[in-house]
Amino acid sequence: MINKTFTKDMRETWMYGILGFLVFLLVWQAACVFTNFGKIFPTPKVSLAAFLQAFVEPIGRHTLLGHISISLRRVLIGYTLSSITGIIIGLLMGYSKLAHAIIYPIFCIIRPIPGIAWIPLAILWIGIGEPTIHFIIFMGGFSQMVMNTMDGAQHVDTELVGVAKVLGAKENQIFRKIVLPSSIPYIFTGLQTSLSTSWMAVLAAEMITAREGAGWLIIAGMQTGRIENNVIGMIAIGLVGLILATLLRNAERRLCRWTVRSR
């Protein structure tokens, strides 16, 4: 009985899912055929063909995979740097009231500025090139990383710290054995949100200052009037975003099994 209802539900899920997708494709196709939309926008079939072709035929300097891996390398550098500094500063501010009093007011000036808004400043400071893009990605993820880590370090169970003190634990033991582990779920939340903003920041940076990468791909598609490149780029960007998010979620499940918070 249970099995039967289960499979029926699954079947419905697939049916409606495919139906929804078909309706989407149909609307897309119809819009291309019957309206002006078709003059600027490729049909689903053309888009798919272009997508597959982009794996072998270069657009600009690289193939699709080449552009994606360039963007990913940039994200990896900027994101790693912003995560490390963000976690350190966040822990510091969450754990030490003195550090909080000193750093927080200055941090508050930077915090509400979107990473993307740093683009013009970064170009003036560093010039056009890889370091600028890394800097922009860094700024994109940094504030969220600090905020989440700080939140975690501040929400440490005070009873636990009290018990540890009674048992004679030293400051640095408390920090390593209690504060750090209990901040980890928050740090992971920070890592997830900051990864998705980093991914967004690299696109924006590449649209404005780069000659290759996923962001360049879609902006070049627009500038040269080859919208199919734009569509290909979006599909690829979406897929990569999905893969990155899934990877991190799995990492979190594995690393903090004791406290995977429901979201």
């Binding site: 993307i116 924006a204 979006m234 979406g238």
Partner: protein, 258 residues
Amino acid sequence: MKEKTKYIIISIVSLISFILLWDLVSKSGIISAKKLPAPSKLFETFIYKLGNKNPDGNTLPIHIWTSLKEALIGFFFGIVIGVPLGISMAWFKKFDKFFSPLFDLIKPIPPVGWVPIMITFFGIGIMSKVSVIFIASFIPAVINSYSGIKQTREVHKWVSQTFGASNRQVLFTIAIPSAGPMIFTGARVALNGSWVSLVAAELIASTKGLGYMIQTARLVGRIDVVFVGVLVIGVFGAAMMEGLSFLERKLVKGGRRS
């Protein structure tokens, strides 16, 4: 209490010394004023830009107004369409099954990724920006109202059903109010995303707005104007978030639950 005052004083001292240090570094030429204008210079530029159209063709208030208008229109439509869609997807199974796969498809594309396509469709006017911001706020609005409704506690539904509530009454008197805090979390994410994507869209292509202002100032090498623009972007972003928090306190009763 005394401890608290101590830390407040430390904070103030820290902030003042930061600004003084900045001023010193810039004025003494350790870092050239072309890279780091002094705070006093930024203040002058700010006052100047309030009424002057140089170097980008519009005064600061006009840029601010343009950006705010675009961000808030897009945000408004994103919420007004996204929240009911999220609620319906969570409440009506068939709706969910129909829309979920499509939604999963567009969800991972960062809003900035939509900028070129929207410009192709709508040109560089207000429509392209509003539609990018619409997407930026629509997605978190759907996700959060969806999971807010899904997290409705069974016991609350039972209470309502036992009093004889219809399906509709359960939705409106139990599920939606209990999703309130989550919906607001979604709105906060949405607002943040709107502001970020707006700046990006204006940087890439526009003729007005704060993003355009800093981009143009960059091209003509007016770093002071860039600085002022960046700070103004930060201030207005923070102010809008505060406004939303205020609205939440007014609308969501009984404290945060999640």
